[in-house]
């Protein structure tokens, strides 16, 4: 049995997928979700094999939701936005259905997916994780998960980012949040007029800097409004000065 979940904020859009799915007896539709939050909960609860996912949804979009999923199922995107297609293939989606789509087009996507073996699917999923971790959609917010709750952090609220093994620590007034991403991901995501990679392990919000002090031989320390002291490397110092307009 194949477990599937539909995540789309438009009831009629879900109805189309549901209708098209009816002819597949081997696929069980476990749940229909109206937004990413519900979707995330359903994915954790049911561990589905296949996801029909819309991109534009309230609060968090489809891609942002995927970033928070631990064990990724296979994903078929259903959206009217052609411009998301490239990103969808970057995250190695099974297919990308442009609304409105026909039963034939839908069948083709499913056939393709059913035709691929479990190992290929797992490989594709691994690639989704890898690619999703390197290719950000230019955004002004960071979506994190904390104790099962989803939190949306506007980038201007971020104090600094710190590399922590396989994670990046997003430090804000409300505390630190771990995000399974790389520093270069954030370097691409964030507007570098507002942020500066001051150190191999640190990106900081330049609006938070109150002063810069010399430290050891050639290094500096940036003191933030919160009192935090961030090391600034020799190569990071000019970047920080440029971002501060000095």
């Amino acid at each position: 049995m194949i477990k599937a979940i539909i995540i789309d904020d438009e009831p009629l859009a879900r109805a189309v997928v549901k209708e098209y799915l009816a002819s597949y007896t081997q696929i069980t539709l476990l749940q229909e979700c109206g937004d990413g939050f519900e979707g995330l909960k359903a994915i954790q609860q049911h561990q589905p094999d296949l996801l029909f996912l819309d991109v534009q949804m309230p609060k968090i979009n489809g891609f942002e939701m995927l970033e928070l999923v631990e064990h990724l199922p296979s994903v078929i995107f259903t959206t009217a936005f052609e411009e998301h297609a490239i990103r969808a293939f970057e995250v190695n989606a099974v297919d990308y259905l442009l609304k409105p789509f026909s039963k034939e087009r839908f069948d083709k996507a499913l056939q393709k997916w059913i035709g691929t073996s479990e190992s290929v699917r797992n490989l594709a999923t691994a690639q989704v994780i890898a690619v999703a971790g390197t290719s950000p959609l230019q955004s002004n917010r960071i979506v994190v998960k904390l104790n099962g709750k989803i939190k949306i952090i506007p980038v201007q609220d971020v104090y600094y980012l710190e590399a922590a093994d396989d994670y990046v620590k997003v430090v804000t007034e409300e505390g630190a949040f771990l995000k399974n991403k790389t520093m270069s991901f954030f370097e691409q995501l964030l507007d570098m007029a507002q942020f500066a990679r001051v150190h191999r392990s640190y990106i900081l919000n330049v609006n938070q800097v109150t002063r810069i002090e010399p430290y050891e031989k050639e290094n500096h320390l940036a003191i933030l409004k919160s009192g935090a002291k961030i090391p600034v490397s020799k190569t990071g110092y000019p970047k920080l000065k440029a971002a501060l307009g000095l």
Partner: protein, 351 residues
Amino acid sequence: MRLLPDKPINWSFIAGLLLVMSIDYLVVWKWFQMPAYMATWESLFVAWLSCATLAIRYNLKYYRPQKQKFLYVKFVAGVLTVLFCCAYAMLMNKLYPEASSYLTWLNYSLPVRMVIGWLVITNAGNRSLLWYDLQAQRELEARRKVLEDLSRDAELFKLRQQLQPHFLFNSLNSINALIALRPQEARQMVLKLSDFFRGSLKREDEKWIPLPDELQYLELYLDIEKVRFGHRLSTLVSCDDAACSSLVPPMLLQPVVENAIKYGLYDTLDPITITIRGWREQGILYIEVNNPYDASLQQQPNKGIGFGLSSIRRRLYLLFARQDLLETAAANNIFTTLIKVPQPYDKSDHH
């Protein structure tokens, strides 16, 4: 063609003045056989009068009456001439009380001086008036051109907007679903979609539209969105009798309502209500659009008006040359947009 240079004092003006002063000097000195210092004073009188032409130019630069402007120029020129001539005569009486023959001659020639002075000053005034009128006309022309460009851009933007997947393709997708589920509703949706598109094609830029027509058109749009988003979207549209007899520029409200839907539906998970209310006060039509939004999701909520409304403000400015016709307010996660449309003519107001 330039009737008058931007700066009243320039080289040709000074050269002309010097020429007239020299001629005057020679005439007074050689023809009237006056002493040289008197001739100098006479030529200074010419310079003095030319100061009066500068005075009228500056006056017209900062104040031009709407009606009877040529009469106004004549009047101001008259006052200036009398003032300047009398001032000159008084100065001469003070400086040379013993030069009686010159003073007598001055006294006799005063009316002639005034007439000539008046003619010269009036001429300068009229020329400035024409120049400033031309200038104003040019500005008006430029403003109209920008307005035309802008409404053309708005038209293009609107077309692109409607061709964007988020509206057309999603609507078609809903129809696709309805065909299987509720064919009757699918048909209604097709008809509404057609009406909406026909309406947007019919809209001409120049013509103002009665508010009820515009609201009806907006309701088509809202109805389609309601089918798409089901129970999540509800709307309240109302306008009082006076407002219903008002006119609005086409496509003014559409972007506001689109914004309201976008932020209302994508910022929150709950069902939302969008209210559109029209009323009229003292010849001005007020239209208020309310939508829920999430302040924490919006970047820099306090910075400017945001929400893509700056183009509407610009359009209102170009239509009415007023900056205060668009107001926005955000409180308790409700975003309010208030548009004021001064009515071109008043039928319903009797103030």
